[in-house]
């Protein structure tokens, strides 16, 4: 097995590839936050181990062996991030450093156990796909948030840099994977972008917007599928929605909350005949709801992580 240090470099190379950046010495040095000579030395050692090959233009490419190791480390890294975030409740800006330590001390058995524990999510909390976990394929190209045109709407896919300060800022703005963003106007005088994030207006600096990858949502989709909140009673059978809130007084809200209809909870429509009561699946429980009550619970179609399983 290569040393933890070598693993870290292989992982960094895989990340650069994933983003479509050329794996040059300088790019790698920046990614690993080391000096260029250190990076050069490491690339040489990796080449000796047969884990990478170097092309004439001095760009590094992973060999089959190297790719296997890189993808294992990346998988462990992102599984750990999921676990630390979902199970232990760590803040999402503290995940990366912890996962970097843990990923090298993970046995295949532990990796398997982690995968089973967090099996519901195909990505890490920052939106990057976990290698080896079947993801829902989405269409449409990824682009930085900064390239969004005025009036366009997009869904946040992932955050390219996992730096604490950046992540803290994004978190306070609600810019997490799955969030819906709309560019509301042209560039402001201070160079910031005016945005609507999940219904709230905000503005962020260009450099920050560069770090957020989004996927454009067509106008058609905007109108019918994603952004608009609809009453639960309007969800079609087998459609999935995320609860946004309640309208029309407390009523039996207490009972609904206790049964798991909390904001952010996912619901799946089981039966909806257009008339009479409906049946929804919420937190593994099938619940029959009167139409009147269901029309007062508001949901957003689709899941938070952007995977629509329809």
């Amino acid at each position: 097995m290569p040393s933890p240090q070598a693993e870290e470099y292989l992982e960094a190379i895989a990340r650069l590839e994933e983003r479509g950046q050329p794996v040059t010495t300088s790019a790698l040095a920046k990614e690993c936050q080391v000096s260029a000579p250190t990076a050069t030395e490491m690339l040489r050692r990796l080449t000796d181990l047969g884990l990478i090959t170097r092309e004439p233009r001095r760009e590094a490419i992973l060999t089959d062996e190297g790719r296997k190791i890189a993808s294992t480390v990346l998988r462990r890294h992102r599984l750990w991030e999921r676990f630390l975030h979902d199970v232990l409740g760590l803040r999402w800006d503290a995940l990366h450093e912890q996962a970097c330590e843990l990923e090298h001390a993970t046995s295949p058995e532990l990796e398997q156990w982690l995968a089973e524990t967090v099996s519901a999510s195909p990505t890490c909390p920052h939106g990057h796909a976990i290698p080896g976990v079947a993801a829902v394929t989405e269409t449409g190209a990824l682009a930085p948030l900064s390239t969004l045109q005025a009036g366009q709407t997009a869904r946040v896919h992932s955050i390219t840099r996992e730096e604490s300060k950046l992540l803290q800022q994004l978190d306070s703005l609600g810019l997490r994977p799955g969030a819906i963003v709309r560019r509301s106007g042209s560039v402001r005088s201070d160079g910031d972008l005016s945005l609507t994030i999940g219904g709230k207006s905000a503005h962020i600096a260009q450099q920050i917007a560069d770090r957020v990858l989004v996927r454009l949502i067509s106008d058609n989709e905007v109108a019918t599928r994603v952004v608009e909140n609809i009453p639960l009673s309007a969800l079609a059978p087998n459609q999935v929605g995320t609860i946004q809130g309640y309208s029309g007084g407390r009523g039996i809200m207490g009972r609904c909350l206790a049964l798991g209809f909390t904001p952010g909870a996912e619901v799946k429509m089981i039966r909806n005949g257009g008339q009479g009561p409906i049946i929804v699946l919420v937190r593994d429980t099938r619940v029959a709801l009167g139409r009147g009550q269901a029309s007062r619970i508001w949901v957003c179609r689709g899941e938070l992580d952007g995977a629509t399983s329809e």
Binding site: A120, I252, R255, A265, R283, L289
Partner: protein, 683 residues
Amino acid sequence: MARQASSPQPVHSALQTEATEEPRIPVVALAGSPNVGKSSIFNPLTGLSQHVGNWPGKTVEQKTGVCTAGPQRLQIVDLPGTYSLTANSAEEQVTRDYILRERPEVVVAVVNAANLERTLYLVSELLELPSPLVVALNMIDVAASNGIHIEPNVLQSALGVPVVPLVASRSEGITDLLQAIESLLCGSFAYAPVQPNLGAETERLLARVEALIGDAVPPSYPKRWFSLKLLEGDQEASTILHDRIDAERWDQLQTILRANEDAVLSIASARYEWIGRMVRAAVVRPRADIITLTERLDRVATHTWAGPLLLIGILALVFWAVFQLSGPLVTLLEIGIGWASDWLRRVLVGAPAWLVEVLTEGVLGGAGTVLTLLPVLAIFFAAIAFLEDVGYLARGAFIADRLMHHMGLHGKSFLPLFLGFGCNVPAVLGTRILDSQRDRLLTLLLAPMVPCAGRIVVVVFVAGALFGQQGALVIMGLLILSLAMLVLSGALLNRLLFRGAQPALILELPLYHWPNWKTIGLYTWQRVRDFVTRAGTVILGLSVVIWALAALPSGQMETSYLAGLGRLLAPVGNLLGLDWRMMVALLASLVAKEQTLATLAVLTATEEASLSAVLPQMLSPAAGIAFLIVQMLFVPCVATLTAIRQESGSWRWTLFSIAHLATLSFGVAILAYQAAGLLGVGV
């Protein structure tokens, strides 16, 4: 035993103070959401030592029992099934009041392994209360069959309280549960409960509220918990505080609460988030593509048109089984009663004649009425218990919801009303499962309109005697009429009494599972016992009174007080084509519906002809129909009336129900008879 440092001293209730002379038997309370199999844990713990009663001042069933299986005797209290501890319903109030005021030594929180997240919600609330907790992880077999595997150890270390896996329906894990309870009682378990973190913002808000009202919180309530309930909009907490706090601070509090109306949402979300983290660590989830048994069965049971067909089929099957199976049993019982009556006459040869008559005609006659109903009810209750236990009944409620909406009710009311086909008494008592006072009252007023087994027995006999082959059609017609009247009354009462308000249905559909015969048997036994003690005693007593009224003062029926009463009603009877004897028979149905037949037999008895031969001579077809209509829709029996009085808690509503049904039954019958007269049909 490690309790939370912040918890105040237990407040001893009157009950506890009385018991201080002797060492108190440790009390273990069972708490849990509906459908977690709480009773399947309660039953093996207590065996047949159960005592079923009511919580003081509440129409909520209270079950207690003594457990002698463990190292020491334990008093077991089964708390009502609740989803949360906010005072939304009487059940929730009973649960939290009991834990806060009586301070049971241990609370066993039962959770359903197949529905872990949702059933842990109550646990997240119970952790805020001072009594030590054991989590009983029930139905791990059902979870496993749905592909869910749970690590109890992980859950135990995450919660800091003992977690015991069980399959209570097979009595697996009961010994472990008793050991866990014992380990808390003797302090050998390092009890360190983890309280759910509600998020920085909520905690800050909570601290503010606590600081403002802290000294005004009654000593039996933990301050944090009480403040939390205020933020959740709990009416009871608010009322309690209002009397104990000055106006200025009250206004301050209201300002805080108004500004944070959404706190109830973030508190519930935070609890579920906390649970979610735990569950993700402790549970291996099934692959998403597994199609569960529940899913497959529900495709049919809740289908738009297959669902109602299935419901009708199941109900028809239940009725068929009830009448097929109970027939021979009833005959057996009747032979037994006849034998007992003969035996009494032989034994009491030297006794005064009136005593013999009271015992044979009054007491045995009354007992006979009760006993002949028993097989019908027992089979009916067993069928209901079976449907409930396997999980079908909630689907029936879902299917029935649309129909029930027409009468201003929702699907949940279907359950008690359906019980009414067996006997109206459990139907009235069954209205307890409904959440709102309004739903309860309306269902209560409609329950006596469901044709019970007693009414159907009379109708079948009379229709058979009068109409022969066409009897079945008449019976069908009467059933349809009485159900139509039920729907109509519901719609009307809803409009008049509740201004047409639409009720809200929220009903959990539990996972289907194999029936637990012990639970079904025990349920049936308790219902039947309840009927015998409640209806039985009333019917028996009143049978003697009726006998006395029919025999006094002269010993001749024709000149008795009862006949006098019947003659008073003759003018009403004339409108229906019924003579005084038929009116007396209808009045006798107040004792018990099938008493009508017994009374008619006594009143019309002749040496040469049986009742079925006499009836066609006494009644024209139109009068017969009128009689049957009244019998179907009339004021319910006394046992049902006392139940209505008890459940509604008011004489006004009881009298209202009597007036409503008396008017309706005679009104419809008079209309039918007069219409027949005008058309010249069947007179």
